[in-house]
């Protein structure tokens, strides 16, 4: 187990570097010299050259072979990696804010939306999936399936626009926009749950039903175990592995926030900021995000494996 964990944790290094390299290739090499943008529309060639020099955009991309061996790594990509490893995430070229400060500022507002949304979605989806499975092939099951399919077929954007127009604008039940207190989170969370719960219900229902047709369920039923006990003690326990996979893999995305909900409801979180960074060519924000995101993703995968071993004693991590 320890060896397995070490191996997995070490795999973070090549994965994070690989993701960073791809991002660097896309934005720095294909995307062009950011100094041109920083220098403004009236820039003189000297001004562009000065910013290029001061920000190190004139250095070789990967290896400084001209200065071998002492300054071999005095090149753009190695400098970027070194900086990120030291925890220096640089600054945004659009707001001139430290990326670290941007992350700190936006982290909690994003979590204010994503965490309740995630927990409510999970609880509601598992509960509805169990209900549907329990009442399988009855009108309750069919109704839940139809509602789930309908719910997941409609774009989140439609929910947002309809809810913002009617529930907030016309009827005044919720604030239209803002981040002043818990009541401002209700509508975005409600929309997030309504838009997302359908797919989760269908997924969890399938898992639960798969389990309900297993031999051990038939045996338990034959032994006279109550349906509720079968559902909660046996079925749910055995369905945990796919549920855990689904849940843990979603965790890294909590910190990135929700682009649409944050944009439409004025939540000053990371979602909108990170997506805006791409068209703005805000490199340091993008590098930091991909670097941290890839590390979190590998960690979440490792956590999933550990959870498997915990949930199913038959699984051994080697």
């Amino acid at each position: 187990m320890t060896a397995y964990l070490l191996r997995r944790l070490l795999s973070v290094i090549p994965i994070a570097l690989g993701v960073l390299l791809l991002t660097f290739l896309l934005f720095r090499i294909i995307g062009g010299n950011p100094a041109i943008r920083l220098a403004g529309k009236n820039a003189t060639p000297e001004k562009i050259a000065q910013i290029t020099r001061e920000r190190g955009y004139d250095k070789p991309y990967f290896l400084n072979v001209e200065n071998f061996p002492h300054q071999l790594f005095d090149a753009q990509f190695p400098r970027l990696v070194g900086r990120l490893l030291r925890g220096d995430f640089g600054e945004s070229i659009t707001t001139r804010q430290k990326v670290r400060d941007i992350l700190v500022e936006g982290f909690w507002p994003s979590l204010c939306v994503t965490v309740p949304l995630f927990l409510l979605n999970l609880t509601l989806a598992i509960a509805l999936a169990l209900l549907a499975a329990y009442y399988r092939n009855t009108w309750v099951d069919r109704l839940l399936v139809v509602l789930s399919v309908m719910g997941m077929s409609v774009s989140s954007l439609v929910y947002i626009m309809v809810a913002q127009y009617w529930l907030a604008g016309e009827w005044g039940i919720f604030p239209v926009w803002g981040f002043e207190g818990p009541q401002y989170l209700l509508l975005p969370v409600l929309i997030g749950v309504v838009a997302g719960v359908g797919g989760s219900v269908r997924f969890y229902r399938t898992i639960v039903l798969d389990e309900m047709y297993q031999d051990y369920v038939r045996t338990a039923r034959a032994k006279g175990v109550s349906p509720a006990r079968i559902l909660f003690s046996h079925v749910l326990r055995n369905a945990l592995i796919p549920i855990l996979t689904n849940v843990i893999i979603a965790l890294p995305f909590l910190y990135t926030g929700s682009l649409l909900l944050e944009s439409f409801f004025g939540i000053p979180g990371l979602g909108r900021m990170l997506v805006m960074a791409i068209p703005n060519g805000d490199e340091d924000v993008i590098y930091t995000e991909t670097f941290l995101g890839s590390m979190l993703f590998v960690l979440a995968n490792t956590l999933t494996d550990i959870a498997y071993a915990w949930a199913d004693p038959r699984i051994r991590l080697r």
Partner: protein, 581 residues
């Protein structure tokens, strides 16, 4: 163990929980003392880094400069602000002497001893101007001084901030002299720009990297709170040095009620709150609910608000909402790389054919909902040098076919019979608007047999290609920095070729000679005539196929008063008034 009944109950409770606790929606208080606007996505309060509109607007609420634009008068006019009067200009036009208004104080701030703001002096302006030129600032605004002010370039190159800069001299506490290397008639225009606003050294040194979050100016408002990507709040600056609402405007201003507050002390509104709303849909809902005072109109909402006759819809009229239309000082064009072996060179006929092949009135109608108007000169309306002469290359397919044949491509084919294939770059990777625009151009060029390939690029990549001259044809626009045609004509001056602002690499010795002559001339009918002549010269060679002039449409609430859009000034909020509603 839970029963199924309990499970059902929990599910229902979970659903209900989502709706619980939803009191009434908090709304902005509707008083006459607070103005609610949209904005706030900006870089911070550093005048040296104020190149974009959003940043310039916020900086103008808290900082000021020597000069400013007259709010109501047109044509655009400069008036003194922190200068006591217009400067004395030496007969050779090389020395400007400004006398500063006495008693103007920086707002109170912990950066000053005892937290009490001190009086603004000539040294403060020198410090602020030097800061703009300091290479460490990497300011995108140094161009306003670097090639014009005596000794500015060597000073910037030697890197010692406290060394004197001979072009900026404090004759006494309240007298500032600016010495130039050659006449710079645009100086008063550029002094209205936020780049040239005054900042106290104490604040820069006290807040260091955080200076851009702690504005300490002399402006009409002071910052109360700022949550990035969400909300900014300002309140009246109690130490704002008396200024009154103007009593002169242009014809029609009095009838429009824009002079009703003449003589009243500024600012009129006590508080300004700006929300950073990124989705236009949300913004529209809030505007209709009366929570926001003014709204621009984006393409998707244009038809909801504007009739085919370009008036306001009945529904909005019923709400008392009013419409404004203002021409922007910018020109959009298709630029040809004059160094390109196919589209460049001295023979303009291929470029002229390109221009004649594009139906610009249809472009305005189909792509821009008539929010843009067809351009007829490289100099946009409202700026001396613009004329109403018809554009020499209007849409004319037959003429386009004839010109392209004369250029050596009959039917759009070269001498080997291969179709002429041109590549155009434009900003807007992934943008629907850019895709529609690209398809429009491709369709029109196909009509003369040209195969146009459009590369829609990310903005940084587009800028790089443009600056390096690494393109054949480009779609671009130039937004004027100040109302002087020189700001547009410099785009054709050959020493400014790539990687300078002359992105088409246009070269015409006659034009260059005229440019060198007019660039030092003060405003006069003679200079305007030369501007017109230079614009004609450029249009004859056709390095730009002219497209459109944008027209800004916007809406404002009936209770929002004294609103008059100015395409160059960002210091308008001190004039705004909100009626009780």
């Amino acid at each position: 163990m839970l029963s199924v009944r309990a499970l059902t109950a929990i599910t229902a409770a979970g659903s209900i929980l989502l709706f619980a606790g939803t009191g009434c929606a908090p709304k902005p208080e509707k008083t006459a003392s607070t103005l609610y606007l949209v904005g706030g996505d900006f870089k911070g309060f550093d005048p040296a880094d104020s190149g974009d509109t959003e940043t310039a607007e916020e900086i103008c609420r808290v900082y000021e400069g020597l000069m400013e634009y007259s709010y109501l008068e047109r044509p655009y006019k400069v008036i003194p602000r922190l200068a006591e009067a217009f400067p004395e200009i030496s007969p050779d036009g090389l020395t400007y002497t400004f006398r500063l208004r006495k008693g103007v104080r920086f707002m109170d701030d912990p950066c000053f001893p005892g937290g009490k703001g001190r009086e603004v002096t000539a040294e403060d302006f020198i410090y602020s101007f030097k800061r703009l030129l300091d290479p460490k600032q990497q300011s995108d605004g140094d161009w306003i001084f670097i090639h014009h002010v005596l000794g500015a370039k060597p000073w910037a190159e030697n890197g010692r901030f406290d060394d004197p800069l001979p072009g900026f001299v404090a004759l006494d506490t309240h007298t500032l002299q600016i010495k130039l290397t050659k006449p710079y008639p645009q100086l008063l225009w550029v002094l209205t720009m936020p780049y040239a606003f005054v900042v106290p050294r104490e604040a820069v040194e006290f807040y260091k990297k955080d200076f851009r979050s702690h504005p300490v100016g002399t402006g009409p408002y002071r910052l109360v709170s700022w949550r990035r990507r969400y909300r900014i709040e300002y309140e009246r600056n109690p130490s704002f040095s008396g200024q009154r609402y103007p009593d002169v405007g242009e014809p029609g201003d009095r009838e429009a009620g824009l002079l009703d507050d003449a003589g009243k002390p500024l600012p009129i509104v006590d508080r300004i709150v700006l929300y950073d709303i990124s989705e236009y849909y949300t913004f529209w809902q809030m505007f209709l609910a009366g929570q926001i005072a003014a709204s621009g109109l984006n393409k998707d909402y244009f038809e909801k608000a504007i009739t085919p006759q370009l008036g306001l819809t009945e529904e909005l009229k019923r709400r008392g909402i009013r419409l404004y239309k203002t021409p922007e000082a910018s020109t959009w064009y298709i630029g040809f790389n004059m160094k390109d072996p196919v589209v460049g060179g001295s023979d303009p006929r291929l470029r002229q054919a390109f221009a004649c092949a594009i139906n610009v009135p249809k472009l305005c109608e189909v792509i821009y909902n008539n929010r843009n108007t067809p351009a007829n000169s490289i100099i946009p309306p409202g700026i001396a040098g613009h004329t109403d002469k018809p554009y020499p290359y209007p849409y004319d397919l037959e003429r386009a076919k004839r010109l392209i044949a004369e250029a050596g491509y009959p039917g759009g084919r070269d001498k080997n019979g291969n179709p002429l294939r041109l590549t155009m770059i434009m900003p807007g990777a992934g943008s629907t608007d850019a895709r529609q625009l690209a398809e429009f151009f491709v369709d029109h060029l196909r009509a003369i047999g040209v195969e146009l390939v459009v590369q829609r690029l990310g903005f940084s990549e587009y800028l790089r290609r443009e600056h390096e001259g690494n393109y054949q044809v480009m779609y671009a626009g130039w937004i004027g920095d100040y109302p002087d045609a020189e700001n547009f004509l410099k785009l054709f001056y050959s020493p400014n070729k790539c990687p300078g602002v002359n992105a088409t690499n246009y070269e015409n010795p006659q034009f260059d000679r005229l440019y060198e002559r007019v660039v030092v001339m003060p405003d006069s009918p003679e200079r305007t005539a030369l501007y017109e002549q230079m614009a004609d010269l450029v249009m004859k060679d056709c390095p730009w196929a002219l497209m459109t002039y944008p027209l800004t449409y916007g809406l404002y609430q009936p209770w929002f008063q004294n609103y008059k859009r100015h395409p160059f000034s960002y210091a308008s909020s001190k004039y705004y008034k909100v009626l009780p509603h």
